[in-house]
Chain length 411, copies 2
C-alpha cells in the first residue's frame, strides 16, 4: 500500500519486475564493506596480487597504441583478438573450440542473462542443482521460469533424477529448456562433480533433449591443479560453456565468454547487440594484451596457492570453533558450504552475526523454493587467513549464543 502511494508508476511495470527483489548478497554488500566486519559473504577475488605495473602499462598502451579498437564501437560477438585468446584459455579447462564459437560477454552474468533471453518463455522449466548459484537463480526468476532443484550429493548432481523430472514436467505440458550446472568447485556447495557423474548427466540430458549450461568460473582454481573433464567435451552440440575472467584476472573488467553451438551463438550475438550493442572494447583490449604478454598460467597457479591457504585456515577454524557443524572440504574455488549445528537458522541468525562483525550468505539465497535455512555459504577468497579465523570464531560465538537462548526457552 505504501509503495502504491509513493510510486506513480506502480501500475506500469512488467510482470517480470515483480520477481526482481534485492538479493541477500546485494543487501549484504553495503554492510560487509564496513572495515570492522569480516566478510565471508562476497565472492570478490583479491586483485592486489595482479602484476599491477604491467596491467597499468597495458591499459596505457591499449589506448595509446590501439585507440581505434579500444575506444570505438566493435562487434557484438566481441573482438577477434580476444576470442582467439579465449580459445587457449578454454583449452586449459579442457574445452576445445575455435574463435567463431566464442561470444564475449559482460561477465558470465550477462551470458546467463542472454541465454535466458533467447531460451525462456514464462513458465518454462529450468533444472538446477541443490543448492545453485544465486545469480543464476535471479536471472531465471526474472525471466519468469519455473526453477526445479535436482538432488545432489558429495559427487554432484544425481543423474538418475533428470529423466523423471523432465518426464513429469512435460507430462504437465511444460517445456524443460535447460539444465544449469557448475561442475567444478560449485558455488555455493564447493562440490566438484565426479567424472563418472559427468558422463551420466550428459547421457541423461541428451536422451531428454535438454540443453546443458555449464558455468565454469572456477575450473582453473582447483587446489590439485587439473580440472575435471568439461561437460562441453562430452557433447559440444548439447552444451553452452561459460567462462569468466572475473576470478582468474579481474572482475572489474566485466568480461566473460560463452562457447556455444552455431545456431545458439547466432542468437546470443543478436541478443547481445540488442542488450548493449557490443561489450566494452577497452576491457577486451586490456585482457587480450594481458593474456598475450603475461604468463597468466603462473598468476593462476599463485591464486591456487593463495586460495588453498585460505581454505585451510577456514577448515581449521571450523574444526576448532564449530566442530558440530557439517561441511565437505572443497578441492578448489571460493566457498565452504556449512550446515550449522542443531536447529540454527542461518537466515534468522544473520543480523546477529553482522552485529558481531561477521557476514556470510544464508543458504536460502541458493534455493528457489525456500530450502537452505540450516546452511551458510562461507567465502574464503577475500580475507587473509587471520581474518578468516577470526570471522569463523565470531560466527561460532553467535551460534553458541543462539543455542543458549533456544536452550533457555526449551527448559
Amino acid at each position: 500500500m505504501t509503495a502504491t502511494r509513493i510510486d506513480p508508476w506502480h501500475n506500469a511495470y512488467a510482470r517480470r519486475a515483480a520477481g526482481m527483489t534485492a538479493s541477500e548478497i546485494r543487501a549484504l554488500f553495503a554492510v560487509a564493506s564496513r572495515p570492522e566486519v569480516v566478510s565471508l559473504a562476497g565472492g570478490m577475488p583479491p586483485v592486489d596480487g595482479l602484476p599491477l605495473e604491467l596491467v597499468s602499462d597495458i591499459a596505457r598502451r591499449a589506448v595509446a597504441e590501439h585507440a581505434v579498437t579500444a575506444l570505438q564501437y566493435g562487434a557484438a560477438q566481441g573482438e577477434a583478438s580476444l576470442r582467439d585468446a579465449v580459445v587457449e584459455v578454454a583449452a586449459a579447462s579442457g574445452v576445445r573450440t575455435h574463435a567463431g564459437e566464442v561470444v564475449i560477454t559482460t561477465g558470465s552474468q550477462q551470458a546467463l542473462d542472454l541465454l535466458a533471453r533467447i531460451l525462456l518463455d514464462p513458465g518454462d522449466v529450468v533444472l538446477v542443482e541443490s543448492p545453485s548459484y544465486v545469480g543464476a537463480l535471479g536471472v531465471f526468476r526474472s525471466y519468469e521460469a519455473d526453477i526445479r532443484h535436482l538432488p545432489c550429493d558429495a559427487e554432484g548432481l544425481l543423474p538418475e533424477s533428470i529423466e523423471g523430472v523432465v518426464a513429469r514436467e512435460r507430462g504437465l505440458g511444460r517445456a524443460v529448456k535447460l539444465l544449469y550446472l557448475v561442475p567444478n568447485h560449485h558455488n555455493p556447495s564447493g562440490v566438484t562433480t565426479s567424472s563418472a557423474r559427468r558422463v551420466q548427466i550428459m547421457l541423461a540430458a541428451s536422451r531428454c533433449g535438454v540443453l546443458v549450461v555449464e558455468d565454469d568460473p572456477y575450473s582453473l582454481l582447483g587446489f590439485d591443479g587439473e580440472p575435471g573433464p568439461p561437460l562441453h567435451a562430452l557433447d559440444p552440440t548439447g552444451v553452452v560453456y561459460l567462462g569468466s575472467f572475473s576470478k582468474t584476472f579481474a572482475p572489474g573488467l566485466r568480461t566473460g565468454f560463452a562457447v556455444a553451438p552455431p545456431a545458439i551463438r547466432d542468437k546470443l550475438v543478436l541478443a547481445a547487440e540488442s542488450a548493449m550493442l557490443c561489450p566494452s572494447a577497452l576491457s577486451q583490449q586490456v585482457i587480450a594484451m594481458y593474456l598475450r604478454e603475461y604468463p597468466w598460467r603462473n598468476h593462476v597457479k599463485g591464486l591456487r596457492e593463495l586460495y588453498r591457504e585460505r581454505c585451510e585456515a577456514m577448515l581449521a577454524a571450523l574444526a576448532h570453533y564449530l566442530p558440530d557443524a557439517h561441511w565437505q572440504a572443497p578441492r578448489g574455488g571460493f566457498f565452504v558450504w556449512v550446515e550449522l549445528p542443531g536447529d540454527t537458522d542461518a537466515r534468522a541468525l544473520l543480523p546477529r552475526a553482522v552485529a558481531a562483525r561477521v557476514a556470510y550468505v544464508p543458504g536460502t539465497a541458493f534455493f528457489a523454493d525456500g530450502q537452505g535455512h540450516s546452511h551458510a555459504r562461507l567465502s574464503f577468497c577475500f580475507p587473509p587467513p587471520v581474518d578468516i579465523t577470526e570471522g569463523v570464531r565470531r560466527l561460532a560465538s553467535v551460534v553458541r549464543e543462539e543455542e543458549a537462548v533456544r536452550g533457555a526457552f526449551r527448559s
Copy 2:
C-alpha cells in the same frame, strides 16, 4: 526447413527470439568496414580527436592508483565518483539531478534494454516517433511490444496525436507503457523538437499517464551550442532521461547513464544486477578521471565544429548531386534523413550502392511497420568531408542509373 534440420535446438527458443533478426545496420557493418567503401551508414564518432596522451595516461593511473576500484566488482548502480560527475554532464544539457538518481549503464543501449525489461509485457504498446532509432525499435521488438509510430514534422512529434492513440489502444485493452523520444538532433531524422512542442508533448503524456523516455545522446552536439530544454526539466517524475558518453567521449568504453524517478531507479538497479552484476569498473574509473581532469567541454566544442563542417560538406554535395532529393538541414547530431528522388526504393538500391562503394542505412530500418522505403539515413560523423562528397556523388550516380533503368522499362 533448412534451419529446422541444421539446428537441433530449433524448438527450444523463447518466443521473443523470433523477433531477433540481424538489423540492417549490423549486416552493413561488415561491408562498410572495407576501406574502398565510403560509409555513410554507421554512427561511429571519430576517436582520434581525443587527447590520447592524456586518456592513455588516465587508463594507466586508473589501474596503478585505483586498482581496488577499477579492477574489482562494484555497485550495480555504478560508481559514486562517476555518478557525481554525471550530475555535471547532465546539467550541461539542462537536466537537474543528483547522484542518487543516476544509474550507470553499458551504453544507452543497455538503459533502453533495462527499461524495456522492467516495463514491457508482451503486447504492451510503445509510442515512438516517425522515424525512430533503430536500436530502440530492436529492443522494444525483442520484448514483444507493439510499436506505434506517431506522426512528426519539421518541429518534431505532433503532440495532438498522443491522446487519440493512447485512448484507442486502451480501448482495445492494451497497456500503453511508454513514449520514446529523441528530442535533440534526432537519429535518423535530424529534427530537433521545438520548445513549444516539448511542453505540449509533456502535457499530453502527463494527462495520459504515459512514462516518457528521453534519449539524448546528441544534445551537446548542436552546431549553435545551446541544447533545447530537456523534457526531464518539465516533469522529472514523468521522464527517464538517458545520456551517453559514446558520442562526446568514446563508445568503446560502453558507458551511458539513466536519470530516473526513485522507484524506477530502484527497479533499474535490480535489473542491472541481474543483467551483469555491475558495469565495467575500469571504464567508469577512466571516464570519471577524464571528466575531472580534462576540460571536456572544450573537446565537445571541437566536436561541434568538426561535425558542422562535415554536415556542411554533405548538404553541399546533396545540393550539387541530388538536387531533386528532399532533406531538412540538421542543426546538430550525426545524420541527414534524405528522401531519394522519384520512386527510388532505398532498400532495394542498397546492394547496388554498396557495389558502387557507398553505404547508408535504408529508411525501413527506422520503422517497425514497413514504412521508410523512399528514405536513406546518411551519417556525416565519421568520414572526412572529401569522402562525404565522394560518397554522395556515388550515391547520386547509383540513383541516376536506377532512374534510367526504370525509365527504360516504362518507355
